[in-house]
Each structure stands twice: as C-alpha cells, then as structure tokens.
Symmetry: C2
C-alpha cells in the first residue's frame, strides 16, 4: 500500500539532485527520514470495528470512524453496514472542489417517498453531533494561527478544532473528512447519506454538520470521479452514478480481506517533528520555508503494519 505521505517534488528527477544538495547545505529532513526513526510505540493499529470499507468498481476506500466524536451516528452507521444497507446503492453526487456524496439517490431530497430504502434496524432520527466536550480529550495543538477556530490540532489521528473557552472540540472539514449529509434541520442526518471532502477544505461547514470520520486509504477513488453536472454536482442521470458494490466494517470481513495498517500517533514526538519539518521546509526544491502549516495541509502517516506488530 502506498504511504499517504505526499511527495511534493514537482518532477521525479529532483530526488537525485537532493542527494547532491544534502552535502551542500542544511535541509529539512523529509517525513520519510523522520519516520525512519520511529519505534513501534509511535504507531497504533486502528480497530477493525471502526474501519468502514467501501468497495467501488474503481477500488477500495477505507474510512476510520470516530465514535468518540459522533457516537450516535457511528453506531447507526455500524448497524447500516452490518445490515448491508449500502450494497447496490451509489455515489450520486460529485461536486467539484467540494464533496463526493453517496448513499440512496432516492433519499437525497427527502426521506419520504415510496422508493426510499428503509434503514432497517438503524434509527431514522439522531441528535446533531456537531461538537463534543474537550475535557480530558487528547489534543496535540498546532503552533500556528487558524482563522476558523481558536485552536486546531489533532486528537487520536483526527484533525480537530478546539474552543478552550467553551471546552468544546470538533472534527474539521479537511480533505478526506467523512460527514453525514443532512437536510435543513440540524438533526436530520442519519449516517445513511455520507460525503467525503474532495477539495479545498470547506471549514465553514465545521460545527454545522455531524462529521463521522476520515479517509485513510483510497480517497482517490472518490476524488477522481467525473463531476456531476446537475445542481450541486448531482449526476443528471442514474447511468452516471458509481455503484457501491458493498460497504462493511472491518470486523465483518474475512481476515484476508482486511487491510492491516498502522497509523502514527498524533501525540507522538515523531508526529510533532513531521509537522515542524512541514512548517519550515527547506530542501532542494523549497528554497523559501513558509514558517507555517495549515491544519488541512497535514496528512497523518498511515502504513502497512510492520512485521514487529503482526
């Protein structure tokens, strides 16, 4: 599995130049170099019961759910997955520079109507879960200013905003964030209609909707879909929909179907070093370090489980 770490050289050739430049002047270590120093305790193995696998014809998309941020929604989503709710449903909306949305096309305008697929044992009504208490919750604060939230950083692998005055914390709409689509009423999301952010982070939606997790693998199978040409990126014809073969929790898959990954602890020193290297990148390509990084420019390293952990 390819690492989620982004190489930002524009041209592959740069790698050989880098070796030369290392001898000439000090450069920021790359994320790969920093990760090479990591030890087993810097990594966690996500619970397969929190991994949502979505099988598309294009490939497998895997999300990590966030029960600590949206317990009711995640619980509903788990029920829906167990009861195979999404099998044969579709990705029916791909809105450029915004979101890819999937679920039941017949329910995109209303859950009333004869053709809407019933939710089975899952609940039709959930409370809005836009934020949670920040008290006693792990939080690794970024050093830089953020215009959208008093503080931003990471909590157990998730990009979050925090308001220390009100003791609240919430998942942020960064690229790859998984959210629960809703109608106008704040409590009208069920987790049945989900969307993933595929463009510039629409942080204005933070605190206005329930976020339920984030992608850890296969984002490109959603972000690389043809955009819908209807209103708000909904496909004009059902023929354009991307069919969902199935969606399952990792625990409901056979061992050989499960993807065995480990995710860097976002409260580790190694992660802090990676963030710092990104804030002030100097290498053969980056002549001018930014002295800053935005929350949504940081990807949390995910890799195949290493032998010592298996």
């Amino acid at each position: 599995m390819p690492s989620k770490l982004k190489k930002i050289f524009f041209l592959t050739f740069a790698a050989s130049h880098l070796l030369t430049s290392l001898a000439l002047h000090a450069v920021t270590p790359s994320a790969e170099e920093i990760l090479a120093k990591s030890t087993p305790k810097d990594w966690r193995i996500p619970d397969q019961d929190n991994l949502l696998y979505m099988k598309l014809p294009q490939g497998m998309v895997i999300f990590e759910l966030a029960p600590e941020f949206a317990p009711e929604h995640v619980s509903n989503i788990k029920l829906l997955a167990k009861e195979k709710y999404w099998d044969k449903l579709s990705v029916y909306r791909v809105h450029d520079n915004f979101v890819a949305q999937f679920g039941d096309p017949m329910a995109m305008e209303s859950r009333e109507g004869p053709n809407v697929k019933p939710l089975g044992s899952a609940r039709e009504k959930l409370p809005a879960e836009f934020e949670r208490s920040s008290i006693d919750v792990e939080f690794s604060k970024l050093p830089d200013v953020d215009g959208w939230a008093p503080q931003v950083g990471f909590s157990k692998g998730f990009a979050v905003g925090k308001d220390p005055k009100n003791n609240t914390m919430w998942l942020t709409h960064c690229y790859g964030m998984l959210g629960a689509g809703r109608f106008s009423a704040k409590d009208s999301s069920t987790g049945a209609e989900l969307y993933m952010v595929i463009g510039q982070s629409p942080r204005q939606i933070d605190l206005n909707i329930t976020s339920v997790g984030r992608v850890i693998q296969g984002a490109e199978f959603l972000s690389g879909l043809k955009r819908g040409t209807g209103v708000v990126g909904i496909y004009k014809t059902p023929e354009e929909y991307t069919p969902i073969e199935w969606i399952r929790l990792g625990t409901d898959l056979k061992a050989e179907q499960q993807v065995n990954v480990e995710i860097l602890h976002t409260n580790s020193e190694i992660f802090k070093e990676i963030v710092e290297a990104k804030r002030n990148r100097v290498d053969d390509f980056y002549a001018r370090p930014a002295g800053h990084i935005d929350l949504c420019n940081i990807s949390v390293p995910v890799r195949e489980q290493q032998a010592h952990l298996k």
Copy 2:
C-alpha cells in the same frame, strides 16, 4: 455556462426550505442575491489574448493568464500556444489532493534527451517570477488572518499574498491556480510544463515557484481525472495519459469558438459584499456562521457575458 459560484446546500431540497426560513429569521444574502444587484461596471471582460483554452477529450478548460505577475512566463506560454506546442501532448500526472500536470511527458525528468519536444521560438531559459512589486498594484485586502502571508486578498481577479514590509505581491496556490513546473533550479521553468492545483491549497509552494494564471472554466475536466499511481501521481503507462487535443489563445480562435465571459471586479463593492456574506453565512443550512473565510475558499464569480455588454 454554469456559474463558478458554489451552492453549498447539501441536498437540493433545501432551496424550498430557504423560502420558508426567510420569513422566519434574518439570513445572509446568497451570492446570487448579491450579484443580482450588480451593474455592468462591476464586471470586466477578460482579454481573449490572456485566455488559454485547453481542449481535452473530457471538455474545454480555460485559464486566465496573469502577465502582470509572470510576464516572461506568460509571454513564453503565448508563443508556445501560437506554435501549437502542446497539440498531441498529454496530462501525464494527476497527483491526488495536489496537482494535475500537463505538457511533454518526455520532459518531465529533464529537458535533455532525444525525445524531448523542442520549444520552437519559445525560450528554454526564463527568470524565476515568484513575486513582483506591490507598489501601485490593485489590492483588495481580506479582513481575516492568514497563516501563510502577512496579508492576502485579490488583485484584478487573482488570489494574492502581499508583504507590505517588502512591498511584494504574489499569486497564491489556491484551487485552480495554474503554475509552471520546474526542476530543482529556481529558474528551470519554461511554461511548457504546467500544472493546476486540484486539492487543498498547497500554499507552502507560494514564493517557491512561478504561478502564471488560474482556471476560470472547466477545472472539473482536470480535477476529475483518474489519479496516477506512479511516484508523485505520474501515470505508470502512457496509455493512461489524457491527450491534449490542442491549446490555443482566445485570440487565435474563431469568434464562435471563443467563450464570452465576464468576471466580477474583485475591487468592487459587490465582491466585498459576497466575501462578507461568506464570512458570516447564516441561512437555512448554516446555523453557525464562521466569522471567517480563507482566501482559497473564495471563488471569483464568472458568468456568461450579459446582453448589455455584447
């Protein structure tokens, strides 16, 4: 042509709810409502000589070049377009959440080599044009903090950063920004290899590369391409490349091929109102206004030329 204004309702049904809610409580006017008040002087017609049309099998992508920010590069790009340099070349790299890059696949690692397409009358060597003087340059400053630049805002339709201490201004790597790929040497871009930003704005590249323009139509034909699975998103096989049918300046197209658009002046009061509405959005969907907007969350309105201007 669809407006570039993004509708951010999650579900189309919301529109009818909006009518109800208008009667119930104060809502922020939508961009459409604000634009309805605009007058002809709020709009400018871009110079066809600064519009770069790229014909892909998927559709037409149109960029507005920024000669005031990168005069040497834009001049080279115009020569390349006139001499049909890009015809039958390719989009050979689509790096998820980063860039779609196009030009000559044989030149992506080096401009040396027998199979590299010659640049014709265009220059092989240009100066880096990472920034320009900000003195006497139009600038509409955003009210909000930005972590990457002392000030940010818009200059003649382009999203820019500004450093008032050093009197410099530069194009920023927002979604849709068009940049000139380079090798390790700062002055190794020619404008022949171009890329468009297709993900979370990689602002760390600001001031490290020459930006030459921005997309005004058809971004989705690049952002919606299958991602490359090779290193840095380069396609592993040439069969995966998207062929470029042709790239031309608007002035070299027949009148009926030209797209006749008008772009809202970014120093107009109307644009300021739109930004303000985005900063504090309250409507049937947005219950909690952000009190902030990021530079790269603002799209500059583009529409078909209205009758009064034709």
